[in-house]
Amino acid sequence: MSTHSKAAKRFVADAERLAWHDRALYAVREKRDRMMATVPEWEDLRRMASEIKLHTLSRLGDYLCEFERNATANGMQVHWAADAAEMNETVWELIRRHGGRRLVKSKSMLAEECGMTPYLEARGVETVESDLGERIMQLLHMPPSHIVLPAIAVRREEVGALFEREMGTEPGNSDPTYLTHAARRALRPKFLEADVSMTGVNFAVASTGALAVCTNEGNADLGTSFANLHIAIMGIEKVIPDMEALGVFTRLLARSGTGQPVTTYTSLYRRPAPGCEIHVILVDNGRSEWLADEAHRNMLKCLRCGACMNTCPVYRRSGGYSYSYFIPGPLGINLGMLRSPKRYHGNVSACSLCYSCSNVCPAMIDLGEQIYEWRQRLDTLGLADPMKKAAVKGLDFVMGGRRRFYGGIAMGRLAEKLPRAVLENGLNPWSTPGRAMPPFAPRSFNAWWKKEMKR
């Protein structure tokens, strides 16, 4: 059994939570569909997004240098980090030099990727997540289970109990409005007292040296409004050529991810305010090598909208924690394999190959096709599951000859007469706990066809 199916057991055991999770995410997917329907040129936009990203990736070095030049001319300071360790060190060095102790940050998948928060906490920097979902997860001491909806696997009663403990909210009150406003009040002093702010970057515009940051809560912008040091961290694939490109991406991002026409705030940071500093860290951490893998470089087109997770039938029914990479779902399966096939290949089986993710991706990333390709590579990587390999070999033999095939079916019909306990146990790879094996059709399609043709 794959690491994913093993880990999914815990999530699947709570049938009520599973059903809620499945429905809630599909509702987001449906909102996305409704948004798409309001834009007649939707498919043109996706194609344009994909082509702009490919173009940018094919000249990534040039665009990064152009961004650096323009951002520097605007008064920002640009740093380059080859890997996670260098990013963390750069952040720490900036904070240390500034004499900072309290960091307020908005959501950044890159910070998760680099293990930045524990690194800073170990050096005595209080690091506060300001996005509500991220804050809930931070207080629960759990990682986010979705890249855009971090707390999607947490129920309101659990948030109520958490806030009662952490913020002294009324016992038993789990009203979302009440709890959100309690968090607003509790986080106010964190914003005001922070001496350093950090944001991620959605798009870095090379031609103007501006950073685009998109949020709904306004937490990124409130965070950068007081402290006079703003550190922005970004993967090198976040650079885009120019403002025209920004127009294309901002039309797609929120429509695809949360089903809104645009995020509430699309902020552009171009020049630091008087007396303030903006430092941008361009982080590679594997990306330049992934770009050299022709079959999988498309992953670097990703806008991190989350649409592939919302649509994925496996993700919706197994939850983010069933995947062993910190990013779950179709995106995480692929990014995990780029990071380390050895560590993360257990996720590639978490896919029905329905290709829905490929169809909703605003940058037209062939996510499902790539998962299929990884599966084909498992054997050469020496990572194929020996049980599955044996089963496939067996099937290949059975299906390879007419007599063997029909003989096999007859055996199956016989096997069906076996007691349920024999059929529905862990040794039968097709059995699933809580689900009965479907009965065989009374007669084979072939037999039915022959009979119907005679009539």
């Binding site: 040129e41 971090p150 959100t180 809560e217 127009g247 294309v248 705030y265 552009l268 305010a273 050299a292």
Partner: protein
């Protein structure tokens, strides 16, 4: 070799063929009534739109919509009801939780109800810290889509700017939509 050189060297060796910059080869949507679409989409996102009547003053609009507001911060001359000049405030923290901020925006975007604000006040904290925010834009300044918006001159020269499409919001607790996550609880766009 420093990290920049290392990264650039790796990128140079990625084996990727140069790809041309694609041309915009399609015509983006247009709206028959841009103002109406703008208003509808802003309101769908929880914002509020007000068309100023002839002869009406901003002070009257403020009194009509925010009768309870005691602390009002604005640098606009027309807002005589302002109690705080935010540019005279040294510490941006003092602008947090003022009842109402009244600011100028440049133009609106019909397709998503967003307004472009290029920061022209001293502390951007007012845009995000005020409990309610009123943004005043010229009535005729509404474009169809983001394609036009991002190439406007107002989006070319600025230090900090933001497309705002309604009040701060979150759905992080069970996907239930709540306004006023960290920023303004309400946003009104005044078309004048």
């Amino acid at each position: 070799m420093n990290s920049k050189e290392k990264i650039l060297k790796r990128l140079a060796g990625d084996g990727m063929e140069p790809r041309p910059r694609p041309e915009m080869d399609f015509v983006p949507q247009r709206f028959a009534d841009r103002e109406q679409t703008f208003v509808e989409r802003l309101e769908a996102g929880g914002g509020c739109a007000v068309r100023m009547e002839a002869g009406e003053t901003l002070d009257e609009v403020i009194r009509r919509l925010y009768p309870e507001a005691k602390s009002i911060a604005s640098t606009m001359d027309e807002v005589t009801s302002a109690t705080i000049n935010p540019d005279r405030v040294e510490d941006p923290r003092q602008l947090v939780d003022v009842d109402l901020g009244v600011v100028r925006g440049s133009f609106g975007v019909a397709e998503n109800g967003a307004v472009w604000i290029a920061q022209e006040i001293r502390h951007k904290a007012l845009y995000f810290g005020a409990t309610a925010l009123m943004i005043v834009i010229p009535r005729e300044a509404i474009v169809d889509t983001m394609h036009e918006a991002v190439v406007r001159p107002e989006v070319d020269d600025f230090g900090y700017g933001c497309f705002v499409s309604g009040p701060s919001k979150t759905a992080d607790i069970e996907q239930a939509l709540v306004f006023g996550a960290h920023g303004p609880m309400s946003v009104t766009v005044v078309l004048r």
